[in-house]
Amino acid sequence: MSSVSRLRAVLVWLTALIIFGLLFLEARQAQISLESAEITTGWWLFGLMIFLAVFNMRKKLSMIPLGNAATWLLLHAVGGLLALVVYWLHTRNLWPVGSYEQLLAVLFYATVLTGIIGYSIQRFYPKRLTQTGMEIIYERIPREISELRERAEELVLECTEKTDSETLGRHYVDSLAWFFRQPQFFRNHVVGSQRGAHWLRQQDTAVRRYLSDDEKAYLDELTALAEYKNGVDIHYALQGIMKRWLLLHVPLTMGLLAIAVWHLLIVHIYAL
């Protein structure tokens, strides 16, 4: 992290802490005076939620200088955490009683949770992708797998023709064809398990003892292809998750904002 980025992060955190501190004092003062601070904290919370939602709009306005998206993301992440504590300050409990408030709480917590999960995977997954030693554009993965499958099948056919033995061919049909058909071990890759690589080693070991030296050379090539395909699978799983988590986070945000607006109207019409 450069010194400018560090300074920017410190400033944003400091601002968030000051806002929270002021709101906390306001709420405490209100409590002492037997008054209500919910209106102040509520409006702050709503304002924060609007600000957080605007980040998505900024992405569509890249043609105008609205500041670096990296700064926006920092503000979004810190603002999200600030919204969480302001929410607790506003509701003064972790879980509300009324069903409408519970719906609001579910949406709020789900939005925060998906945000935290999304932020976390965006911090850790890129490093795991780098560790595969390859780089591939997500949209090209199906074509890549198809080409790998074709090469694997050509290799197996060639082995059968040249060595006059079907051992490797049968093994391919029984086991490896499944692996080359489509991305596999999705869940394992998502959680960081090495099951895919382990499965490939098992397959290699299991069939190697039955092969001649000529066939083993083909198996080596096939295993290299399979290992590459395993890397592609990792990219498919991790890039897929990184692209799709927003499909949860953004709709939840929209739902939350809609319910919050209704909550605001109800409060201002009936409670004041």
Partner: protein, 557 residues
């Protein structure tokens, strides 16, 4: 055993102009420019007639046609055979007059309007604008040829100071041989016939014709070398008379292939290359006989390490090599032995200032110790690997390479979308490219220090901006010939079919072929706020960098 036979490519397999006739060559040999040349000094395999036949072509210009333009790169020199030309002197000529794109930065609202004015169809062009360009077809040459011209020559002559170039005048040879930008704009005042000599022929003539060589060297010494020396910090404080002595003793040397990008592309596709294939300039352990200054191109400084060489640094134009070794030897009275090797990266022009001249004029005036290259003793090999890679891949040529930190990049393509939204719906780069460790140099124009893409552009549509030094393409004067895209060693220029708003391909009314345009990253020159790709990255993973060793060292893991 069957043997495949193929003849090796010969020097003149591709003549500059296949239509050049023996008769034209004989006529040229009779002109004053060549009649005095001692033809017997040329070797049998490269006779002067052969050079004229294969490395030159006769070009006709109409009044107003721009022959060379200040700031452009070119690999030809010109000899005026007939007619009168004008050269702009001492005054800045408006960009638009020269057929360049004048960059108008959009305002905030104008930029925002792209949100609704961008077409759903990519690469939409307003064809009504094309009629306004100062571009005309050269109907006497091939169909792809077109020229930028000055529309109102008398008015220009009235408004700007110009000098006349008449029959027998030669120009453009320094830029062609030295890979430096043209220093002046020259246009035809009347109908003019010029002999265009490509750099290969020019190099041969310079090699075998003493008079021509002396003339070029003298021109360089008088015009460029003095300025170069004055701007070099090593010679700061020397008065002009001493500088003149330094200049007169300086030797000019060239290493590597002028068209390095061609061999580089071949080398990359065959997987060969590396430090062993680079032409050596100076070797570690040898006697240092002079200061080597890089005039153009790049060179690698390396030291022996294990069974290979380890890169210490690379040098670009304006940097020098060997000064510290020579200085210490002079100070201590010992023999100057080189502590490192120097090799050409592609192509490099070197100025060699002899040690004796330095000892006499420069060293006595030095106070303090000259700086040395980074000391490798304490550096792990891994720390240098990014620099080694950048040099091997020639990314050092880039001044604005798109460097992506893959440990931060979440592959969201926000950078691609931002680029598309500022370029009419089509991105100007691909988020894909060569990777090393956790770094990727994406396929985006790097705005090279040695922009080989600019060489050969028939209309000068691809050019470097006078302010900012960006390499941009004037869409109005691009004729879609693809010369730039073929020349770019990094495959960062793409040809697209121009489309109308309804999505249909725009056809050239004459040829009925699609109108094609070269496109590439322009660093969002027309939009406020700098490159949109950098601003759009939420994780700060994308940066535009010059491949300087110091900055790369900071980035090393």
């Amino acid at each position: 055993m069957a043997v495949a036979l193929a003849s090796a490519p010969q020097r003149w397999d591709s003549p500059f102009d296949p239509e050049m006739t023996e008769e034209q060559v004989n006529d040229l040999l009779g002109t004053p420019a060549f009649s005095a040349v001692e033809r017997e000094l040329f070797p049998v395999h490269t006779p002067l007639e052969g050079i004229l036949k294969n490395d030159t072509r006769i070009v006709h210009f109409r009044p107003g046609d721009i022959v060379v333009r200040e700031g452009d790169y070119g690999n030809s020199a010109y000899l005026v055979l007939d007619g009168s030309l004008r050269v702009f002197v001492g005054q800045e000529v408006p960009e638009q007059l020269l057929g360049r794109q004048s960059i108008r930065r959009r305002g905030f609202l104008d930029s925002l309007s792209q949100l609704w004015t961008n077409s759903d169809v990519p690469e939409v062009r307003d064809t009504s604008r094309y009629g306004l360009q100062t571009l005309r077809k050269d109907d006497r040459t091939d169909a792809d040829s077109a020229r930028v011209f000055i529309q109102d020559v008398p008015a220009v002559l009235d408004e700007f100071r110009t000098a006349t170039l008449g029959d027998g005048a030669v120009f453009g040879e320094l830029a062609a041989l030295g890979r430096i930008p043209r220093t002046a704009t020259i246009f035809a005042e009347t109908e003019a016939v010029l002999l265009e000599i490509r750099w290969q022929g020019l190099r041969e003539i310079r090699k075998y014709n003493e008079g021509f060589r002396r003339r070029i060297d003298r021109q360089y010494r008088e015009n460029a070398l003095m300025v170069h020396l004055q701007e070099t910090p090593l010679f700061a404080g020397l008065d002009n008379s001493v500088l003149e002595q330094v200049a007169s003793a300086t030797l000019f040397e060239t290493y590597g292939a002028f068209d390095w990008h061609v061999s580089y592309q071949r080398m990359r596709s065959s997987g060969e290359g590396g430090i062993d294939h680079e032409p050596p300039i100076a070797r570690q352990g040898e006697y240092a006989d002079g200061l080597l200054m890089v005039r153009a191109g790049f060179a690698r400084v390396s030291v022996s390490f294990g069974k290979s060489d380890r890169t210490v640094a690379y040098l670009g134009a304006g940097q020098h090599y060997g000064f510290r070794v020579l200085y210490e030897a002079w100070k201590n009275g010992t023999e100057a032995t080189l502590q490192s090797s120097l090799a050409a990266l592609g192509y490099v022009d070197i100025l060699r200032v002899p040690a004796l001249v330095l000892e006499e004029h420069v060293f006595p005036k030095i106070s303090g110790e000259p700086s040395a290259f980074i000391d490798l003793a304490d550096r792990p090999i891994l720390d240098d690997s990014l620099l080694e890679w950048g040099v091997d891949e020639r990314f050092i040529n880039g001044t604005q390479a798109m460097l992506i930190d893959l440990d931060r990049c979440v592959r969201c393509d926000d950078c691609v979308r931002a680029c598309a939204s500022t370029h009419g719906g089509n991105p100007r780069f691909i988020r894909h490219g060569k990777t090393f460790d956790h770094w990727m140099v994406a396929n985006a124009c790097m705005h090279c220090a040695d922009p080989v893409c600019m060489i050969g552009c028939p209309t000068g549509a691809i050019h470097r901006t006078q302010v900012g030094g960006m390499v941009i393409i004037n869409d109005d004067t691009c004729i879609g010939c693809g010369t730039c895209a073929n020349s770019c060693p990094y495959n960062n220029i793409r040809l697209v079919d121009a489309r109308s708003r309804d999505g249909s391909t725009i056809l050239n009314p004459t040829t009925q072929l699609p109108i094609r345009k070269a496109t590439k990253c322009d660093l969002c020159a027309t939009n406020p706020g700098g490159p949109a790709c950098v601003r759009a990255c939420p994780h700060g993973a994308l940066r535009r960098v010059g491949f300087q060793p110091e900055s790369l060292m900071d980035e090393a893991p």
